[in-house]
Symmetry: C2
Subunit: 353 residues, 2 copies
Amino acid sequence: MPELTIEDIAIKAGVSRSTVSRVLNGRSNVRDETRQCVLEVINATGYRPHAAAHNLASQRSETIGLVLPLSVSLFFSDPYFPHLIKGIAQACNNNNYTLALFLAGTPEDQTKLFSRVSQKGLVDGVIIQSGHHGDQSIIHELSQTSIPVMVAGRPLQPDGINYIDIDNVAAAQMAVEHLIKLGHKRIATITGPLDGTVGMDRLQGYCNALNKAGIEIDAGLIVTGDFTEAGGHTAFQKLLPARPEALFAASDNMAVGAIHAAREAGLLIPEDLAVVGFDDLPIANGFDINLTTVRQPVVDFGIAAVTGLIDMIKHGLKRGVRICVDTELVIRDTCGASMIKANDYSINGMRRN
Amino acid sequence: MPELTIEDIAIKAGVSRSTVSRVLNGRSNVRDETRQCVLEVINATGYRPHAAAHNLASQRSETIGLVLPLSVSLFFSDPYFPHLIKGIAQACNNNNYTLALFLAGTPEDQTKLFSRVSQKGLVDGVIIQSGHHGDQSIIHELSQTSIPVMVAGRPLQPDGINYIDIDNVAAAQMAVEHLIKLGHKRIATITGPLDGTVGMDRLQGYCNALNKAGIEIDAGLIVTGDFTEAGGHTAFQKLLPARPEALFAASDNMAVGAIHAAREAGLLIPEDLAVVGFDDLPIANGFDINLTTVRQPVVDFGIAAVTGLIDMIKHGLKRGVRICVDTELVIRDTCGASMIKANDYSINGMRRN
DNA sequence: CTGAAAGCGCTTACAG
DNA sequence: CTGAAAGCGCTTACAG
């Protein structure tokens, strides 16, 4: 088929370009009969407007950029990111936005990224994943431009920055409080990397729960992990001498690794070791483990990030927006029988301001 | 800073818009002195041309689309995809292309995808991941448009289609031949899903090797897996009664799962079971397993896909292009000592036509 | 080597 | 409710 323009459609429909444009953009000021006629021609010809022409004339690219900075090396091992991307892609599709992916592969990429992403006419808004220290500068640089930015995950210095996050402190606290209510005292934790807010916050939640219960914090029960299964395996081997009776792992991957390590050491789950994880991603780890864990709705998280961003794109840039997505404790088999219902623990209400 | 246009730069540099445009696009027909002067103004002002205006006037979007169809559910569990995306993103960055990601989340997405991707002025070319049967139609539809398409992985009906792949048959055959040379006869395999070419081809390679060595194929030694660690674990439990002395797993994830299952059954690796995997992704599984495996250079694969696509974008659409990326057998500890050097096995030369 | 001018294919006040 | 016209910010033959 020949490359049709809006002009061709106008002629075929016997109207002006303006009218075709109005129909295309769903404006209301078109007579119903005219609209039908134009739509018929569009459907018959399979016409789709030229994206670049539309973008130039309307000064909107209908494209959202997703920036994954260097430090997101977990991109390669953590199923979190595919699910996040799924949510973001889905929300983009539903809102007729195109998703542009900016993945920093090298430090040079990272520096070039800013100039590419902030090019006029390329993206209408940006979602950027918060990582560790090295990525803070690009977050702040982007947030200072005139283009709307939503950060996924609380950045280290959140002042004036729009971000979406779950309440990692409260979620971790609720997980550990569950273990405490079951009567455990020697509760260990395998943390995430402590150079990012996620790892820090979940450790804070662990400490809060112990403090609140009047249990002394024992450094021998805290080991730093890296969110991977292998990391959880290694970490638990380090914890073994401390003889924990319960474990809060800051990710399901680490929980699974730790459980394997515990079983290799002859421990029974949950009899000898009660375990709570964190994530509950849609595609679980399989195996024969039915993990009690904190569910974070990653896909919905991605959708909410896009929705919040589009809101700014359409209604004007804001600063200091915070979106909090709920988590929920999902009680399964790795903590033993329990009378406590899961929804006693859910953190209520998606809050925004 | 104000939104500068090419006009502003022209005025500041005391030249015409045409000349600024030539400098921006690296044309040679500009006096050196003039070029320097323009570049200085550009650097001083931080000017970047408006993407949409450039796209419209030049009829190039400098954007590549990556389509991940529905069936790529492995997207959520297989580290293959992040690495592929890394290679693609890196090559896009290096060639100053933007990467647009089209991820089909639902069957409705899948049908809408075609119309979005093929919109004029949006992408200059498309890379689409080959999956199983359900995705063949979108591959063929896209390949029939006037926009260059490169399929990642051989599609089921490859006629007239451009694709890039590794030689899965030869690679699997080389892995199994290694086991045969080590003296093994009862060689099992855990395959990938058999509704895609990857799983089919690696099984074919396994069969080829056995046939060539005059070893009878025993259906009891063949179990279908799903490329995941948990799947490999389950699959090996099914293989146990058949008492294999060696195993070719069609992915490293499955190999790791199988090794865990074997150890749980009291088998020693490699003494009781020699294992070869497939993938050797940059970020391995950790653990204490030093896997002998077939290395496929996924990142380079992504780069080659982009390079091949850009070649078509710049030098005209082609049909039936085939790019083959090399694999290599990497001998480590899971097959026992061996005198055979790894590079005796490499499949030589990146071939193109 | 450089500039004036037409054109890329849309959108959007403006006028009616 | 509809159309003529200007404009979005570039690129690219064409002429010199």
